[in-house]
């Protein structure tokens, strides 16, 4: 068993591209679900329209990179309004139904043969990240401590990513300390009570949906840029459910929980996955386990771990046990 490789990949996973992307998506979900109680099961679509908005603008229409970013942001806001206007006046479950369906529609449109001249079908789009890497201030080489280091391109993506995470966390911190955040949390508890106190609940829910979508869409940009490519199947429903898992793992309605949750989630996945594959190649596991099925086994083990967490620490890592106790009343 090569413990050194396992250690290095695990540490790299804790700050790597997936962690950054999922952390941003989860910060968005935390705003919507954790604070405002909105069940947006279509977070993947928000990242998808942003990533595709940028990629298509640059790769298909050969327009400037920054215009692509603007179009990606605009597409996210439009999606939020499209989903929110018909459903936010209804009971909470309707938003969940509509968003999960919309996310699949968005993904299927991206991969459809009909629109493959625009979106590139199941191959997606490439050749749009040139301008982004042209801005890279790092000269070629590796950056990091000893074996835990990245090349200049990855370093640039991660730098931008962690700066965006810091900004998003700062934003959430300021907002949730303010009267605006108080209205949001109150809506999560009971909409009618908030209405009876003269607050326009629909408007606040819409603001939360848009804000969560926009924060999440930053993750979409980074996902596309970090891989220098977008494919429709990156934005499937599992993506959204991983984001929810991360929020609940960290503890809903806490500023840093999506970030720590995302890092922990990927550390667990990578550590368990690599340990299993090392153990299989060293012949330490029964022949039932092969290189082909340990991918599934690692999800089983991580799933088991998450279940145990929810049983023994239902409030998540940062949650307050008293709040969970209130639900049982």
């Amino acid at each position: 068993m090569d413990w050194n490789t396992i250690f290095v990949t695990t540490v790299k996973a804790s700050i790597g591209l997936e962690t950054v992307v999922y952390a941003l998506a989860a910060i968005g979900v935390n705003i919507q679900f954790g604070y405002a109680g909105l069940l947006n099961f279509g977070q993947a679509a928000f990242l998808g329209v942003a990533a595709y908005g940028m990629a298509v603008t640059v790769a298909t229409f050969h327009l400037p990179f920054w215009l692509g970013i603007l179009i990606g942001l605009a597409a996210t806001v439009v999606l939020a309004f499209l989903l929110g206007i018909p459903t936010l006046r209804l009971r909470a479950d309707y938003l969940a139904i509509v968003t999960i369906a919309a996310a699949e529609i968005v993904r299927l449109v991206f991969r459809s043969v009909k629109f493959s001249s625009v979106f590139g079908g199941s191959d997606g789009r490439q050749n749009f990240s040139g301008d982004f890497f042209a801005m890279n201030p790092y000269s070629p080489g590796t950056y990091g401590i000893g074996p835990i280091s990245f090349n200049e391109r990855v370093t640039w993506v991660l730098t931008v990513g962690w700066v965006l995470i810091a900004i998003a966390c700062g934003l959430v911190y300021l907002l949730m300390k303010s009267p605006w955040g108080r209205v949001l949390k109150a809506i999560r508890e009971d909409e009618d009570a908030v209405r009876s106190l003269g607050k326009n609940v629909f408007s606040y829910k819409m603001q939360a949906l848009v804000l969560g979508g926009v924060v999440g869409c930053l993750g979409g940009f980074l996902f596309a840029l970090g891989q220098a490519s977008v494919q429709p199947d990156l934005f499937s429903t599992e993506f959204t459910f991983y984001a929810y898992t991360i929020v609940i793992l960290g503890g809903a309605a806490r500023v840093f929980s999506p970030v720590v949750g995302a890092a922990l989630f990927w550390v667990l996945l990578v550590f368990v996955g690599n340990t299993l594959s090392e153990a299989v190649s060293a012949g330490m596991l029964p022949s039932l386990f092969t290189v082909n099925n340990i991918g599934a086994v690692r999800f089983m083990l991580v799933g088991l771990g998450l279940m145990l967490l929810l049983i023994f620490r239902p409030q998540g890592i940062f949650g307050d046990k008293r709040e969970i106790a209130l639900d049982a009343r």
Partner: protein, 309 residues
């Protein structure tokens, strides 16, 4: 001094009602709320069909009626939580039909709920602060600049503290609202409604689920609202409470207002007795009718005995 003002406000309210007709929809001298021909149907069921009703400013008016009379539905319509199929109503002369609930509250008509809606995972203080109106920090962009709302927040906190003290919840200030008892939640809900600065307070069953020890203090708080110049309209089943605090009673049955009157005499109104107990339960009988019924009953008994034998 307190007792003094109590008597004057109460006397003023009672004077306004003196000599009023007992008919449903009777005109009041200074109505704050005027309702006309409000109808609400759920499929084939007409839940509310109120022809005309007025609520006197500065009074405590009770809305009573048997279960299913449509009191809560009527309440929901007036406060914008449910839409009316027909009709109109004005609050302080302002048309309110079709106005969404949050605008109704802003215009000064604030309600509480039958099933208390304490915001469990917010502290008692946060619950109170939420009630304040025109908060600068509730705007998304200004929320990002704490300096723009801090001072207002301090003023709100001060006002909330005064109210909490009055409602004896100041010790619970930093507890989650979800940890309060049922009665304390009712108190919190009422105090929170006062943070809005209402002119008309609509209480939907303020005594439901409140432990008897708290009843008296809750009653006192409702009376205090009138002392401060507010108008109170409340739905209640507890007739002792209705008699104790209300100045005027409106009775609903099967969706319509069937009678109005002062609390001490309303329960002896035949229309009200009919509504609660059914029209023929003890209709006054002549001596012949009584004889007839007695004979019928005896005949029935005899036939039963014969059957058994």
């Amino acid at each position: 001094m307190h007792a003094d003002s109590t008597t004057t406000k109460k006397a003023a309210a009672l004077a306004a009602f003196a000599g009023l007709d007992r008919e449903p929809g009777v005109a009041k001298p200074d109505p704050i709320l005027v309702v006309d021909k409000v109808v609400r149907r759920f499929g084939g069921l007409t839940a509310v069909d109120v022809d005309h009703v007025e609520v006197q400013r500065g009074s405590i008016t009770a809305l009573i009626g048997p279960n299913g009379a449509g009191k809560t539905t009527f309440f929901n319509q007036l406060t914008g939580f449910d839409s009316a199929d027909e009709g109109s109503w004005t609050f302080n002369g302002k048309q309110l039909k079709g106005v969404p609930a949050h605008r109704v509250a802003r215009s000064g008509m604030v309600r509480t709920f039958q099933l208390t809606k304490a915001l469990s995972k917010l502290t008692v203080m946060e619950n109170m602060r939420l009630g304040a109106q025109n908060q600068r920090g509730e705007n998304f962009f200004r929320a990002l600049i704490p300096g723009s709302w801090r001072r207002q927040e301090d003023e709100i906190t001060e006002r909330a503290e005064e109210l909490l003290e009055r409602f004896k919840l100041d010790a619970k200030r930093d507890d989650f609202a979800g940890s309060l008892s049922g009665g304390q939640r009712k108190l919190l809900e009422m105090a929170r409604a006062l943070m809005v600065g209402p002119e008309l307070v609509m209480l939907d069953e303020p005594m439901a689920g409140v432990n008897p020890a708290l009843t008296q203090s809750l009653l006192g708080h409702v009376k205090d609202l009138r002392e401060e110049g507010m108008t109170v309209l409340f739905v209640e089943h507890d007739m002792d409470m209705v008699r104790d605090i209300s100045d005027w009673v409106i009775v609903m049955a099967q969706g319509a207002v069937i009678a109005e009157g002062p609390p001490d005499t309303i329960m002896s109104d035949p229309r009200v007795i009919d509504a609660y107990l059914g029209a023929h339960h003890d209709a006054p009988m002549s001596a012949e009718e009584f004889e007839e019924q007695l004979q019928e009953a005896e005949a029935e008994l005899e036939s039963e005995i014969e059957e058994k034998a």
